[in-house]
Symmetry: C2
Subunit: 221 residues, 2 copies
């Protein structure tokens, strides 16, 4: 018996929420691994990524299958096309958590360069933005999406702060600091890029709901 | 009068090829700007990105419109779904060229740290992989796609080489080198990430044509 379109759409929502939750968990764990200098957790993040890769493929297949079987009208079609895009963004986010975990494994046998304050703060912002972005999509909530978009400048600011401090106060003063400072600098960049992907999702939501292109035009929000 | 599906598909091919050509040009120009320390060219790459953003939106709209009006069978539907994914990859590639151009603008008023050899080599690989990846998609050519995938380890090797040299031979020996070495290190990473996006496109092509998942499983090629 053919299942109802709305019922199948709910399954898709569940899978996307699961994908987002796994991505958030990967970000959290990769930064925990950094804080506790724990290569076991870092390696777990790297190994667990295969679950997200499989889920990404399953979600894409579900979207294509839904379009093929139900031939949905424009609104639902647009939602499904965007679900595939957002699915890809979530997989990228998880890949960036893997990048962070790889940097952690480069650092784990070296003494800590400095106490970590701004990187955990940036990680919290990133996790919050990812969660809000996917909730905005599922709930078709442009207000929540705009909240995500408005968080991105703070993530940029923190990334720049971390980068400047590492270059000017550490590498610029002690040549021996470079092998420990560069991975931290890259982790800050990975986290900021996660925020960019969450922003991409949020921009897609505004486009979907309000048919308004905010992509690359934040100033007009 | 309703136009024929195949005719509209050819228009889509043209737009994707144009998108890829613009992305390749952006990569080329950003690295030219680095070689010649030319902030005018770098800023041009940054300003021109809006053309790629607009084209990305137009391609997505064309794909959704094609699906809505023609309700294509599974094979064509899958091709169109993938066209949207590949479209997003090309836009990301262009964004990375913008990232490179931004690094160039950070470097332009500082003396050159070292002669550039490996970065232009990595740029050539990146441009070639992008061109081959899109040709493989349009031509549904899995052999060409596999050639792209097999180029990625060389890009990784060059990126690692550049990174090690900058950390060990420059920043690690002279603390004053950091503000000039970090942007170069990031440029190498941006170029390598372009190669990753080309590889994503190529993996999608193999999946599309051979219904074989090579994503995240390069070793089985």
């Amino acid at each position: 018996m053919e299942r109802h379109f709305d019922e199948e759409l709910k399954e898709l929502h569940k899978e996307l929420l699961k994908m987002a939750a796994l991505a958030q968990e990967a970000i959290f764990k990769s930064v925990e691994a950094l804080k506790t200098r724990d290569s076991v957790i870092a390696t777990q993040v790297i190994d667990d990524d295969v679950r997200l890769d499989d889920l990404e493929l399953a979600i894409d297949e579900r979207c294509i299958d839904l379009i093929a079987r139900h031939q949905p009208m424009a609104g639902d079609l647009r939602f499904l096309a965007m679900a595939m895009k957002i699915n890809a963004e979530l997989e990228r986010i998880a890949d960036l958590a893997v990048d962070i975990a790889q940097r952690v494994n480069e650092l784990v046998d070296k003494p800590l360069l400095k106490p970590l304050i701004d990187i955990p703060a940036l990680s919290s912002i990133a996790q919050g933005m990812v969660g809000d972005a996917i909730d905005a999509f599922i709930g078709k909530d442009p207000a929540l999406a705009k909240k995500v978009i408005s968080s991105d400048p703070e993530a940029d600011r923190l990334r720049n702060l971390i980068q400047k401090e590492l270059i000017n106060d550490y590498m610029g003063k002690d040549a021996q600091a470079a092998p420990r400072a560069v991975p931290l600098l890259l982790i800050a960049r990975h986290l900021e890029r996660i925020c960019d992907h969450a922003t991409n999702i949020a921009e897609d939501v505004v486009y979907l709901v309000e048919a308004k292109v905010v992509k690359h035009h934040h100033e007009h929000l």
